[in-house]
């Protein structure tokens, strides 16, 4: 007779081992970064800050009206949340399966243990952890704010219910093609739109019933069409990407493989028709893999440019100068990173070609950032506005080209100094800030145009030039 070991025993062995390893690594990193004296002082400062804000201070009283306002809004918005919450899980399904089924759990499933039971243990562990986090968070909010406990508990209960009933749909959606995910996202947004228009809880109730029904249909097919390599790779990344370790070792934890959001299309399997197609794809893949970082960066710059419009002219222009400089610098950093990543790293580089095809993507990003600038110039319309617009664009182009030249020099290990060009780039960024007070400065775009044309002719590496 064959005796089978209980799956939870094997699972808890793996989890205990992982916990111990992470604890050990964190302790090592902590010891490396913080000595005991600093730790004690930090604790004292943190305790002082906490007590001064929440115990001895009257900060909470100051915010009393604000909390009441929040509570009123939260009550009326409860039904909207019921309809809106699934969007969160569908959005997440573009990036992650919703539970951490790592290579260890996968290996375990190759032993005589049921994969279904291991999956269930993984998801149950996630639910218990979420429940504990919500209880702590809810407890703190109930203790520290005047918001009613029943409202907080009903919100947390709703989120937990969605955590549970969206686990299976997110897991299955993660395995699907981009267009299918996008289709479901659109459908739920549409239901939200109808719900908001009718101002009735019916849309939310129908949606939640639909999700429960989908769960019943999907559960028997839980492991059909699962891309295990993708699931385990992403789970491994989330488990071992530890912030403290990254800080202590000064290294970025990289994913072994990064799955592009564009994969799975049959059209994309066709051979390239030209070098242009290939370059386009290479950049598209690289930027697609880093889209989270790009969205965060572009979103921050966009936010800065939108928010600063409500402050003074000077402040907006300083923000614009910083945005232009940061966008050019980050573009160059991405360019270098592209050349030092994956298979491209070991291939010869025609850097001028890579630069040429990269520029198109930079323009796309730049167009998004130009929207708040155009709105600003439209609202504050003066005779200088067209000159200012051209000045901002040419300044960016100049700084961008200098930054890319610097990147090319670094990649090619060439001994070329670009101090004058870099100095000029900084001056142009500074001048963007000054146009907030002296808009006539913007006519200097003519000088930048001349410099751009000259720098095109004196590029460190021209196409076809022997290197």
């Amino acid at each position: 007779m064959i005796r089978r070991a209980p799956v939870w025993k094997a699972y808890s062995l793996v989890r205990k081992g992982r916990f111990r390893k992470k604890m050990k690594m964190n302790k090592m990193a902590f010891d490396l970064m913080v000595d005991k004296t600093t730790a004690i002082y930090s604790l004292v400062v943190a305790a002082y800050m906490f007590s001064s804000i929440f115990i001895f201070g009257d900060i909470l009283n100051e915010f009393h009206d604000y909390f009441i306002f929040m509570e009123e809004n939260a009550r009326s918005g409860f039904w909207l949340l019921l309809t809106a919450l699934p969007i969160r899980y569908i959005m997440k399904s573009f990036r992650e399966p919703g539970l951490k089924f790592s290579s260890s759990e996968y290996q375990l499933s190759l032993l005589p243990y049921s994969r279904g039971k291991i999956w269930l243990l993984t998801v149950a562990e996630k639910w218990i952890r979420q429940c504990a986090v919500y209880l702590i968070m809810g407890g703190l909010v109930i203790l520290l704010t005047p918001i009613s406990a029943s409202l907080i508990l009903s919100y947390l209960g709703l989120i937990l219910v969605y955590d549970i009933i969206m686990s299976v749909p997110q897991w299955k959606l993660f395995q699907e093609k981009f267009l299918i995910k996008a289709g479901y996202l659109l459908l739920v947004i549409l239901i939200n739109f109808v719900g908001a228009l009718t101002a009735s809880p019916l849309a939310g109730l129908l949606l939640i019933s639909g999700i429960i029904f989908i769960n019943i249909i999907l559960i028997p097919h839980l492991f059909k069409g699962v891309n295990w390599s993708k699931v385990t790779e992403i789970s491994d990344f989330h488990i071992w990407n530890m912030l403290l370790i990254s800080k202590a070792s000064n290294t970025k934890f990289k994913r072994q493989k990064k799955y592009s959001i564009f994969q799975n299309s049959s059209r994309r399997k066709k051979p390239f028709q030209s070098e242009k197609d290939m370059q386009h794809r290479l950049w598209q893949l690289y930027l697609g893999k880093n889209y989270e970082l790009l969205f965060q960066f572009a979103g921050t710059l966009l936010l800065v440019l939108v928010v600063l419009q409500f402050f003074s002219n000077l402040l907006f222009h300083i923000g614009l100068a910083v945005a232009v400089y940061a966008y050019a610098s980050v573009s160059a950093t991405f360019f270098i990173d592209r050349m030092q990543a994956d298979i491209i790293q070991v291939l010869p580089w025609d850097l001028q070609q890579y630069k040429k095809h990269y520029f198109k993507w930079i323009i796309y990003g730049g167009c998004i950032l130009l929207v708040p600038v155009i709105i600003y110039l439209g609202i504050n319309l003066t005779v200088w506005a067209p000159f200012q617009f051209v000045f901002y664009c040419t300044s960016f182009l100049y700084i961008y080209h200098v930054k890319l030249e610097r990147a090319i020099v670094l990649l090619g290990k060439r001994n070329i100094t670009l101090n004058i060009k870099e100095g000029l780039g900084t001056i142009f960024a500074f001048l963007i800030g000054l146009t907030g007070i002296y808009p006539f400065i913007s006519v200097s775009f003519i000088i930048i145009l001349i410099l751009l044309m000259r720098s095109e002719n004196s590029s460190p590496l021209k196409p076809g030039e022997p290197v």
Binding site: F272, M278, W349
Partner: protein
């Protein structure tokens, strides 16, 4: 003509010396076997020659003129590299990988297609050209990466553990291709643990131990590698 000159090269990571005072040269058309136990520094030396790993001192010159330190882009153009683990992109098909190599090494389209046809047939990958790497077996991925590295005509070919994952027919075919490349003037630096096979291919050997050259000479004089010891 000296195709590769490695002179007093050292490489370090976090103050740990991985390569220590490595010097050797390779003539055109020669095949040098880099041997040693696991962790001896063979792959590190390859990556340092390629420029993926920064050397801390020494110089590496190709074709007597192109120094890694001041003509890096041309230097890169002169090396083709077959890594131990395939570096294939999950988003490009097999054919698209070949095209990427063709573009990077500026191969004429006709020549590229001829070579693709020949190698794909030799490695029995005709029906896999439009597949993504993740749908291929490990051995097939290795074959794809091998073809990629063999497509260009570079003065220097670096091959790291070429026979891992290949079936016996593919191994024989690759051996044949390596010999053909060498006969056409390409210098080949390769690492392998298949010591019997290496004697058939290489002219000379260079044995590494703990990042240092332990011995070098004619392949006929090569006996075996030393076992790695805790006390070394």
């Amino acid at each position: 003509m000296k195709v590769l000159e490695v002179s007093q090269v050292c490489a370090e990571i976090n103050n740990t010396r991985l390569l220590d005072d490595i010097s050797f040269t390779m003539e055109d058309g020669s095949v040098l076997a880099l041997v040693g136990h696991n962790g001896a520094g063979k792959s590190t030396l390859m990556k340092t020659i390629l420029g993926v790993l920064e050397k801390s001192q020494g110089k590496i010159i190709i074709n007597e003129d192109y120094n890694q330190d001041d003509a890096f882009l041309t230097f890169k153009q002169m090396i083709s590299y077959l890594p131990e683990e395939p570096l294939l992109l999950t988003e490009l098909t097999v054919m698209q990988h070949f095209q990427l190599y063709g573009m990077s090494y500026e191969l004429a389209e006709k020549l590229l297609n001829e070579r693709i046809e020949r190698y794909v047939e030799g490695f029995e990958l005709e029906d896999k050209l439009h597949e993504y790497p993740e749908s291929l077996s490990k051995g097939m991925r290795q074959k794809v990466q091998t073809i990629c590295a063999l497509l260009p005509d570079t003065p220097l070919l670096l091959i790291d553990e070429p026979f891992i994952g290949l079936d016996v027919y593919a191994m024989d075919y690759l051996e044949e291709l390596i010999k053909e490349k060498a006969a056409n003037g390409t210098s080949i630096l390769l690492t392998t643990h298949q010591l019997e096979r290496i004697k058939e291919i290489a002219d000379e050997f260079l044995m590494l131990q703990h990042g240092k050259i332990q011995s070098q000479g004619d392949i006929a004089d090569f006996r075996t590698i030393q076992r790695r010891s805790k006390n070394d």
